[in-house]
Each structure stands twice: as structure tokens, then as C-alpha cells.
């Protein structure tokens, strides 16, 4: 391993480890405040997630959505942009995929219907991502605020469309989608019976691989990372900074949009108001803990999915809300330790002699 790779790995790995430690301590305190034994609760948490097939299936299901939103956020950060809009991009992607699924005749075979729905999902999320990208390039409007505001606008708009035109009476969701549904994992591995895990997970892993190739092996990725690190140097290197920003926001939105397929076509087979349920915001945590690297993002998605599913497993002993506290603690601890760890490591390393 070259020294540079090792340095990068150290800078990437230490903050999440610090955060894990802090989270464990906080978790202990919360568990004890409830008069329970931390060891028991943590054991239950692991057993309920990685200890049985159903729990593990649920972890995989939740990790799938988080992989998409985490990749979306991390791609933006690599370009120097903060996409806080993954929540509404996810919803828009799921919505458009659902609409296409609803519109297609049941006679259309899955091999054609599923790709069509995926394209629709990417287009839906991509459109919601492209708008703040364009506003930033054209008017200099800060993408953080625009994407936050757009979350509310897009979600309200989708709610209105569903409420006014598409919903099944007395519910907040659309009719069942029969075309373009993605099969559950249980159809191949029966042990996953009852869990929501479905083949969207393969699309998530493919997307992660795509993002890795794009970032580290393609010319566009070389340019994107250059813009994220030093926009002035990228401009000097003949890169159109605005072009990269617009493209990055659009692709980021497309990836988040694809995530909508997991719920709409893989799990419930309908679009429902509020289905994103914070997965977009948690994508920020996933990107942060995963250090904006596709492999890290997949692992961090598994981590946060485990926490979230684990909350259900321990609920009989400690309220599941404990894991929500821990999520916040992990994000805070990583955010606080990243600059600190880098400063400490860089101080420790001797400058290379001329």
C-alpha cells in the first residue's frame, strides 16, 4: 500500500470509529437511564438484525434506499455541492416510477416495464436535482437552501397530485401497481420470507459500482473531483465549473430518484404520501460516515439500516427512539472529528523533504 493510500485511509476511517465509540457511550447512558443492561440491549439489537433472516432482510431493504440517497449526497459533495434535496428527489423518483407502472398495460413484460420505470424514477429525481443545479450556475443561488426549500415544494406538489387525482379513497396512496414491480428476494431465497428486501438491492450495488467508476476512473469524474477540491484549479485545467455543478446535481438527483423504486415497486407496489420518511436526510449521514466513497457509503448504509431495524428489535426493553438519538450523535461526532483527525494526522506526519 502506498503511503498516500494509507494516509487517505487513516483520514477516512478514524472519524467513523471515533463516532462509533461516542455513540456506544451515549447508548449506554440512554439504556441505563431506562434501567436496562447495555450488554443485553446491544445483544438483542444484533440478534434482531443480523441474527435472523427476516431481520437481516429488513436491514437489506432499508440499506438499499439509504445506499441510493447516500450515493446521491456523496456525489454532490465530491463536486463541492451539498444536496439536501435527496428526500424530495427520492419521492419524485418513486412517484414517477409509480405513475409509469400504473400507466403501462399489464400485458407489458417485466423486462420492458422495469427498465421503463427505472428511467422514469431517474428522470423524476434528476429533474428535482437539476433545478437547484441550474439556479446555482445561473444565479449563484446557494444549493443548500434551494434544495431544502424545494423539498417542501416538491412534496407538497406530489401530495396534491395524489390527493387530487390518484389516490384510493380513504387512503394517502395510489392504487396498486401491477406492472413493472421488482421481485422480492424471498422469491429466490425463501428464508427472507416476509421481509421487504427485493432485487432493487442489485440496482443499488450496480449504482455504487457505477459511481466508483465515474468518480475515479472516468475523465468526467477526474474533473468533478477537481471542481470539488479546487474550483479555480479546475477552471485553469479547462473544466467548466458550472457545467460540472449542473451535471453533478442532476446525476445526484437521478441516483436519489432511483431509490424510490425500492419502496414503490419493490415493497408496497403503490406510491404513498411521505414514503421517503427521512431516508433522504439520513443519506447525508450515510455519505458523511461513508466518507463519500461508494464502498464506504454501502457500509454506512448497512450501519444505519441496522440501527433503524435494531430499534424495533429492542423496543420491548428500550424505546426504539433511542436509535434516532444515536443517529444524531453519530453524525455530530463524525462531523466534529473529521477536521480534528485530519489536523492531528497532518501534524504528526513529517513534511516530505525537498
Amino acid at each position: 500500500m502506498s503511503s498516500r493510500t494509507r494516509e487517505q485511509l487513516e483520514e477516512a476511517l478514524f472519524p467513523p470509529l471515533v463516532a462509533l465509540l461516542v455513540a456506544l457511550i451515549c447508548g449506554d447512558l440512554l439504556i441505563m437511564s431506562y434501567g436496562q443492561s447495555p450488554a443485553t440491549v446491544y445483544r438483542l439489537l444484533l440478534e434482531g438484525t443480523w441474527g435472523n433472516a427476516y431481520g437481516f432482510g429488513q436491514v437489506l431493504y432499508k440499506a438499499t434506499t439509504l445506499t441510493f440517497t447516500g450515493l446521491a449526497v456523496s456525489l454532490g459533495i465530491r463536486a463541492g455541492l451539498f444536496n439536501v434535496g435527496a428526500e424530495s428527489q427520492l419521492a419524485a423518483g418513486g412517484f414517477l416510477a409509480g405513475v409509469v407502472g400504473l400507466g403501462l398495460s399489464p400485458a407489458v413484460p417485466g423486462l420492458i416495464a422495469v427498465p421503463l420505470c427505472l428511467i422514469a424514477a431517474a428522470l423524476g429525481g434528476g429533474a428535482v436535482g437539476a433545478l437547484p443545479g441550474w439556479l446555482k450556475v445561473r444565479f449563484g443561488a446557494h444549493e443548500v437552501i434551494v434544495t431544502i426549500m424545494l423539498n417542501f415544494i416538491v412534496l407538497a406538489l406530489l401530495n396534491w397530485i395524489v390527493a387530487a387525482h390518484l389516490h384510493v379513497p380513504e387512503t394517502l396512496h395510489t392504487p396498486e401497481i401491477r406492472t413493472g414491480s421488482v421481485p422480492r428476494l424471498e422469491s429466490v431465497i425463501s428464508a427472507f420470507h416476509g421481509s421487504a428486501a427485493n432485487f432493487t438491492i442489485l440496482i443499488a450495488l450496480t449504482t455504487a459500482a457505477f459511481v466508483w467508476f465515474y468518480l475515479f476512473r472516468s475523465r468526467r469524474g477526474f474533473e468533478l473531483r477537481a471542481v470539488g477540491l479546487q474550483p479555480d484549479a479546475a477552471e485553469y485545467g479547462g473544466v467548466s465549473v458550472g457545467g460540472v455543478w449542473f451535471r453533478a446535481m442532476t446525476v445526484s438527483g437521478m441516483i436519489a430518484g432511483l431509490g424510490g423504486v425500492n419502496y414503490v415497486l419493490g415493497y408496497k407496489h403503490y406510491y404513498e404520501e411521505g414514503f421517503a420518511g427521512g431516508s433522504g436526510f439520513l443519506g447525508i449521514a450515510v455519505a458523511l460516515v461513508g466518507r463519500n466513497h461508494p464502498v464506504g457509503v454501502v457500509l454506512a448504509a448497512l450501519f444505519f439500516a441496522t440501527l433503524s431495524q435494531g430499534g424495533l428489535a429492542i423496543h420491548a426493553f428500550v424505546p426504539k427512539q433511542m436509535v434516532e438519538v444515536l443517529q444524531g450523535v453519530v453524525i455530530l461526532a463524525v462531523a466534529m472529528s473529521v477536521p480534528e483527525v485530519r489536523a492531528v494526522l497532518r501534524r504528526a506526519r513529517k513534511p516530505v523533504a525537498a
Binding site: 493510500t5 472516468s218 484549479a233 485553469y236 485545467g237 479547462g238 525537498a354
Partner: protein
Amino acid sequence: MTGSPMATDKYAILMKGIDKSFGPVRANRGASLEVREGEIHALVGENGAGKSTLMKILGGLQPPDSGTMEVNGKDVTGWNTRDAIDAGIGVVHQHFMLVPTLTVAENVVLGMEPTRSGRFDYNKAVEEVTKLSRDTGLAVSPDTKVADLSVGEAQRVEILKTLFRGARILVLDEPTAVLSPPEVRELWVVLRGLRDAGGTIVLITHRLDEVIDISDTITVMRAGQTVDRLATAGTSPAEIAKAMVGRDVALTTREEAGILTTPAHGGLNGEPPSEQHESLLSVTDLTVLGSRKTREVDCVSFSIRPGEILGIAGVEGNGQTELIEALAGLRPILSGNIRINGKDVTFNDVRERRDAGLSHIPEDRHRRGLILDYSIADNLVLGLQTEFAKNGFLDSDRISANAQTQIKAFDIRPPSAETAARNLSGGNQQKVVIAREMGREFTVLLASQPTRGVDVGAIEFIHSQLREARAAGKAILLVSAELNEVLALSDRVAVMYRGKFAAVVPASEASEESLGEYMIGTRKESAA
């Protein structure tokens, strides 16, 4: 060359053995400074000699790694800004420390606001600033927002700020870099007045005419060390220059550079050196607007022939940066025409100009020239990424082969392609930039401050590279703040003053003295 009637034998500032490093850069190594009460003391040295760092330590903005300092006889090593202000030290920074959205009066009193029953008394602030302005002759309008001031006015506000805080020791970092000659003369009057009232002044500069003009005593710094202390009355510009550049590096003479003996390239009379060649770079009536909608480059025309170096001298901030950026395609132009190798590139972007044969060593390698977190190998293809890609994917074999070749050819150390540019010394960082820009096929080179902040060995290497490129028939536009560098390397020298070429003369006929007058605008001549 006034004496210092007010200077006493007491030391106002006594700094000894000051060390200060920033990462791999050793800005000060054992630097010292002795300033007597009541004198104007010039602190001179080339860019990167460590003057500003020493003054930041004095002003309490940064603690020294080691060494001691005394102010008015008291040990104050490692104090903070507040202590320094309370002890009567006022620093006027090169980059103004003014809040643009606040008024002049608000900026002056910030941190020491006059109050009336707990409230900020703005009227009192205006009153006090007006009085101070009258007493010192520093004319300002207290109610104006700083964003609306000219640079000269902003600098007066900076000085008022320090005086308002009772500064008795005033440190000015390159105060004239941004001033017009009348403004400089005004500043001298103010500084002499302050000295005659018993104040002590430390003036950082690298312009020798100013040093002779205003100072009583001189401290010379080079490469982070204090190398000489001179009385202005008993010295000459030549002696100061010698100390600044250093005795251990022989000044490159024109003969050694082979510039006087190049018959192959023809005349040296300010004429293009070779009649039979078309110009490789020709610029016609180029006008470029700056951020404040001012004409930073004002209707400039010139051309450079194969095998010619056109050097641009001038005080920084006279449009050199904007000229280079406009030529490189990094800054939009208002009007004019740019041709590279006969091809009109006026409306082409950065990449198209590169493809037309343009190479560019940017003035700030940390901002533009390098991606500090990228490896040497990746930095060696920055701007060439399209050439090193196949079907949209980077060709890693060719990238690493290229890195091996360039590292060897340009002697980049350490010779490992995967080292991040951040971890290289300044000289080796610059070698990476130079390897990338000159280790490829090119016809025109924009070299902006090519030796800024690099060590002596790297300077000589970079100079020899530029000469080789010249011998190979390239056209080179050289911009440097170091007048002797421009003189040593160029065939022709243009002096830029306020966005125009104040003069274009053959280097053989140019001297520091003659160019100096153009640089400060006291002599004007229609541009060639």
C-alpha cells in the same frame, strides 16, 4: 535621506532568533529585528523572504515556534493581538482588514466602541474619527461605507484605525503596492509627521526607491533569515539589492544567460527579433474589466516572435494578473483580439487555447496550478485530461508512464508519482506545474511569477528551463514581480502601469532605474 532626529537609543522592537514554520514551509528561521524608537525602519526582502510572517508574529496574530521578542523593553514573546494593540502596536496589513459593509467610523472604532449608557454611540464615533482625521491629515469621510472607498482611502482608514487605538509603533505591510504616485507621496508626508511626533514606523517593502526615500534604517531579510542591518544614509540601492538577492547566488548576468549573444534570433532593438517568423502570440487592443468594472487591462497590443521572451515588469496590481488570465481564457475580455500561432482564439475557451499550443504557468500554484490533494501523477495531467482519456475513461497506464517520464526529466522529489502535491516543497510543487506545462508540445508559454516562493536551486532550474524553451523557438510571456528576473531573462521588457504598457524597451537598454520610473508612473511613453 533624512536623518532620524527623533530616534533615541531605546529599542522599540527587539526580536531575536524567531522561527516559524507552516507545514513544510519554514517562513522564518532565526530571524531578528531591531527597531529604535522614533525611526522609520524599512524591512526589505524579496517575496517569500519572511517579512510578513515576522510582522504577524510581532502583531500577535501568530505565535513564534521559538525565539524571543521585546517591545519597549518588555518581554512579550507569544502575546496575542489584544496585548499587541494595548502595547501600542498597529499593523496595517497588505490585504486590508476592513469590513466592507460597515462605515468608515464603525471600522475605525470596532473593538473600542464609544458608548453612552451601554449603547454604541455612533455620533461620538464619527466625531472622534473626524477629529483624528483632521489632526493627522488623513482625509476620510466617516459616514461612507468601506465598500465604496478607493484603495487609497481604505488605506488611510487602516492607518486611522491603528492610531485610534493609540498606536505608537506602526507596521505597514507593502503599503504602496496598491497606491498611485501622488498617494504614495501623501503617505510619506503622513509617516514623516508621525515619526516627528515620536512614533516608530516599520515599513515592509521590496521597492528600493521607497527605502532610500523614506527610511532611516534598513533590515534585509532573505529566505526567512535576517541577513543585514544598514543605515540608510550610508548605503546605496546596489548594496541593498545585493543583500536581498544574496551573496551565495551569483546574479544571473545577461552574458551568462546567453541573451546578448544570440545572433540567430536577430535584433535586440525593441524590434521583433526575427523578421522571417510570424508572431506566435499576437494581442491587439485587449481590454479587460476587473471585478469593480474598472479597466484592469486597457487597450494593450503586443506580439511575441518565436524564440523571444517578452518580460512584463510593474508594481503588482497594475493589470498583470488580468492580462494573463484573459490570455489563458480564464477571464472574459471586453474587446480586442488574441491570436496564437496565427489562429484567432479570442472566443475560445481554456481547453481550445491549450489545444492551439498555449501553456500557462499560473501565478498562484496553490489556488490554480495544482489540486493539492491530487497525486503528482494526476496533477501532471491536469488540463490534459482529455488527451489522457480513452472513450471517456482515464488511461491509467499512460498517466503513470507520463508521471515517470516527467518526474525524471524535471527532477521532482520525492520521485513517487502517488505523493499528494500538498506534501511537496514549494520548489517541487512548482516543478510539477512546469513539467506539465513545458513537458508537452506547446508554442506559446505564459509564465506568471514562475519562481515565486521557491528555493534558490529551483529558481536556477526554472530559469534554465525558460532559456531552453526560448532557444527551442517558443514564444514566452514572462510576468514577474522580481525586476532582476525580468531583466535577466527577457529580450524585451514591457512595463505595465495602470492597465497599459507604459514602455516597451529592449532588455539590453533597460535598467532597474529606468524601468523603475515607468513602474511608478513618473515617466510615460507611448507603448510599442
